[in-house]
Subunit: 203 residues, 2 copies
């Protein structure tokens, strides 16, 4: 992948695959079909996996760059379009430095019955707060993160938003929260994000 | 599912399916096969999904109980054996109240290249610290969680452990950390976990 156009071609091939796997994850948690139907479906999944694994990147996807500087975090567990574990979040950056994202979490993200796992709220907030500090070519890693759980976060439609409280040298102090479909804040968070010298460790 | 024996039968049907989907998640991130091979594999995945979706629990798996009181958090995003997003973690409880788990995180949990996403570390720590407060029939939810990132957490073999610092009424104060294959602590955490009156919101 060298240009933005190549990236679009690649994305058109692999993104629909991730979408199908994402749907399969949800169904495989909730299915109640009998043992023989499960066995048949499993055989198809294993066959698909065998076909796909004939040519693979070793280890992990990594964070790739096109020659024209576009970052492709396609394997990222929160925003990666090739990672079916990722919802994936689409993060919007406003001109005032704030960020927000609307997303939908289903059965795959459950903790308490019918509710998002508290740790998934932490995962989302880590990424969304960190996105306030992220600049193209100037990524950031989490220094500290504090999360306060105000009430249960129901599965399905949610919003996360964050803004910069202040910047001190290499440190960005961000605050943010998750709110449910009724606009109630369920979890709030603050974090310190650092621009490291070692880019290999950046988000 | 009514008895522990029924639960074992069910688990024998659905756990191998989750294992196959988990493997597919990893492969679908890393595959480099061409467009037509992807399309063939995707057709098999969609076909398997269609078979499995003919009979499904609506919404999410929930936290089910057998008649003999065994809790089945099989849909849980951290420990659920039917949830292919979960590694899944197996948490060991020691007699002194401490807990630990050895686990392996691959490409699906990536943030910085070659490293675990900081938010996934938070997800694991939320669950593992919370497990110190969890008792059968007396579950706990997270009140607050604070996480300090000391260094990057490399993908693959990791350990998380936690213990109770103190208990004050319904609040359990827990501390813990994640360490890498060399035993270096990468992330440390403290949290307050609460036994709620509303069990529907428990982990």
């Amino acid at each position: 992948v060298r240009t933005e156009r190549d990236a679009a071609t690649q994305r058109a091939i692999y993104e629909p695959l991730a979408d199908s796997v994402r749907r399969l994850i949800d169904i495989s948690i909730r299915t109640e079909v009998d043992a023989s139907t499960v066995a048949e479906a499993k055989a198809k999944i294993d066959s698909a996996a065998a076909e796909l694994s004939t040519e693979m990147t070793p280890g992990s996807f990594g964070v790739r760059q096109t020659d024209d500087g576009q970052s492709m975090a396609w394997g990222n567990v929160v925003i990666g379009v090739r990672n079916s574990v990722a919802p994936p979040l689409v993060i919007h950056h406003e001109s005032d430095g704030s960020v927000w994202t609307d997303f939908d979490l289903g059965a795959a993200y459950e903790g308490p019955a019918g509710h998002v796992h508290g740790g998934v709220c932490a995962l989302v907030l880590d990424h969304v707060l960190g996105a306030t500090a992220h600049k193209p070519g100037k990524p950031a890693v989490t220094g500290t993160l504090t999360i306060r759980y105000l009430r249960g976060t129901p599965l399905r439609r949610l919003r996360a938003e964050a803004h910069i409280d202040r910047i001190e040298g290499a440190k960005t102090f961000a605050v943010g929260h998750i709110s449910d479909a009724d606009g109630l804040i369920t979890v709030e968070s603050e974090g310190v994000f650092i621009h490291p010298r070692n880019r290999a460790l950046s988000q």
